[in-house]
């Protein structure tokens, strides 16, 4: 398999210039995630207002896949409702798993087509040991949402 499938230019761009890479002054949903085996670490901070993520901070360090995935994820969830984010997370994780192709709502050949830039991470699926790198920010995002304490 070609390394170019894994290291798409858009991934390397997000790795070199990560978006949303700042700690939030005001956050009401925070979670830390790490892969103990490889040491990747990510912190997700959210400001959730009126059922919407109005701000997101993605910090931490790790490989290009975990960091690019977090960077793209930040762009994808900002301004979205929790409901939409849940659907998006399901689709992303579906794209990363073999079962993902069985989702009737998705094109079996291009399950990531609905995900925009994030589709570039589909090549990671061919490198099984790296899938957990791509999923780490998303799992941490789910954890942060679970911990959200509504102040509305």
């Amino acid at each position: 398999m070609a390394l170019e499938d894994l290291y798409r230019e858009v991934i390397l761009d997000h790795y070199r210039s990560p978006r949303n890479r700042q700690a939030l002054d005001r956050a009401n949903a925070v979670a830390d995630g790490n892969n103990p085996l490889c040491g990747d670490e990510v912190r997700i901070e959210l400001l959730i207002e009126g059922g919407q993520v109005t701000a997101i901070g993605v910090t931490g360090h790790g490989c290009s896949i975990s960091q690019a995935s977090g960077s793209m994820m930040g762009d994808a969830v900002k301004g979205r409702t929790i409901e939409t984010i849940r659907t998006l997370t399901g689709r992303f994780k579906g794209m990363m798993s073999i079962d993902g192709a069985n989702d009737p709502g998705l094109d079996p050949n291009r399950p990531g087509a609905v995900l925009g830039d994030l589709e570039s991470l589909q090549g990671v699926r061919k490198f099984p040991v790296r899938i957990k790198c791509a999923n780490l920010p998303w799992t941490t995002l789910e954890e942060a949402i679970k911990r959200f304490v509504s102040t509305d």
Binding site: L3, Y7, C38, G39, D40, G62, S64, C133
Partner: protein
């Protein structure tokens, strides 16, 4: 000198192609490959002489028991131990370290006592001490490193006082390759009445070890890093100390008598070998010891040193690359950890694998060390008897590919 091509012929796995490329296996510090002699020794027992050891009065059990005890003798000779009874078989180096920590530490240490170790230890020589410190109230203290990745002996000397009861230190760092001066540490430890445990997981596979001159009182190591199988390790200890040490596990085989509310322990080494031991693995380790002895451990060390020197020279050609470990081959083993700014170690390892080069990436079970170096992960190449200069060249070429993919070649 070593006949590397004859040695390579004993390791069928080296003929494998990885992603269409010649395989350069550079992860022996994690686990080594096995020669056919080791595989055959184990298959021979399973096919011809297999039955549980130390139990049956029948032929198969006697043969298996003899082979098991012969393996113990081979290891004793390999280390120049005073007697076979000083060799305790465990399931791993980790288990050997834990056996010592629990058997000796738990029953000896008191509040106010100190356990002295170093920041370059593997988790197997740190975490057991966290547990023992919590149980006993003893305090865990650390020796630091110099900027040149050596043990800071000047600072270390100040740590030795009568509060120190045990010094637990690696004989060769699995990350840095650094070999601290065990003899000097032994003098310091014994000077304050402490015992010295050496984590020999890297040292024993890669350097001649004579426990009569090493200076340590206990030495733990595993079989799978020295051409032997997984599931077998060794704790060597001075007989008198082993006799005064409590067992860490109870069960069959380790008792002289069992009554309803108490039991008496068997003699060493069986006192520490509860349950059916991994005896086929021990026999495999015996074959590995034969194999290494035939090469000669001086030659093994010299071969590692030559490859390490060549690798340090070639890696210096890679722009930006920094090696975490001594820059020369003096008192240094063949584990070379490196960092390539702009490319995370996992990405390095994935790209290298596509080029047929197997290296380890991560924290190498030494998180305190990596944290002290300001890293969360590094890549590591390591050598053994079957590696050749061509493997180093493949590594350096593959690092060039990684730099190109990540746009670091400046072209």
């Amino acid at each position: 000198m070593m006949d590397t091509s004859a040695i390579r012929g004993d390791f069928p796995i080296l003929e494998r192609r990885i992603n269409g490329r010649r395989m350069a296996f550079l992860d022996s510090a994690a686990s080594s490959q096995k020669p056919v002699q080791v595989l055959d020794a184990m298959v021979d027992i399973y096919r011809n002489s297999y039955a549980n050891v130390h139990r049956g009065a029948y032929t198969l059990s006697q043969e298996a028991t003899e082979a098991y005890e012969e393996a113990r003798h081979k290891v004793a000779v390999f280390l120049n131990a005073a007697c076979d009874e000083e060799i305790i078989f465990t399931r791993s180096a980790t288990a050997a370290m834990n056996l010592f920590a629990y058997g000796w530490g738990l029953n000896t240490l008191k509040p106010g006592d100190r356990i002295l170790t170093s920041v370059m230890e593997h988790h197997a020589n740190i975490v057991p001490w966290h547990i023992i410190a919590r149980h006993t109230g003893a305090e865990l203290c650390y020796m630091e490193l110099t900027d040149g990745f050596r043990l800071d002996m000047e600072g270390a000397r100040e740590r030795f006082d009568e509060r120190v009861k045990v010094v637990a230190v690696t004989g060769m760092s699995n990350v840095l390759g650094t070999m601290p001066p065990v003899d000097e540490l032994a003098g310091l430890a014994h000077g304050v009445g402490a015992v010295l445990l050496v984590d020999g997981a890297q040292l024993v596979p890669h350097a001649p070890v004579d426990v009569q001159t090493l200076g340590a009182d206990f030495l733990g190591f595993s079989g799978h890093k020295m051409l032997g199988p997984t599931g077998i390790g060794v704790l060597w200890g001075r007989r008198a100390l082993l006799e005064s040490m409590e067992p860490a596990e109870g069960g069959g085989e380790m008792i002289r008598d069992v009554r309803l509310h108490e039991s008496d322990w068997a003699e060493v080494p069986h006192k520490f070998e509860a349950g059916t031991p991994p005896f086929v693995e021990a026999i495999g380790l015996g074959a590995a010891v034969d194999y290494l002895s035939a090469i000669g451990m001086e030659n093994v060390l010299e071969h590692d040193r030559e490859l390490t020197g060549y690798a340090l020279e070639r890696l210096a050609e890679v722009p930006g690359l920094s090696v975490q470990g001594p820059a020369d081959t003096v008192d240094r083993g063949g584990a070379i950890s490196f960092d390539l700014p702009g490319i995370h170690a996992h990405d390095v390892a994935t790209i290298l694998d596509q080029e047929g080069v197997a290296v380890r990436a991560g924290h190498h079970c030494a998180k305190p060390l990596l944290r002290s170096l300001g890293l969360t992960a590094s890549a590591r190449a390591s050598f053994y008897v079957y590696n050749v200069a061509e493997d180093v060249d493949a590594l350096v070429d593959a690092l060039g590919v990684a730099r190109r993919i990540f746009g670091l070649d400046g072209a």
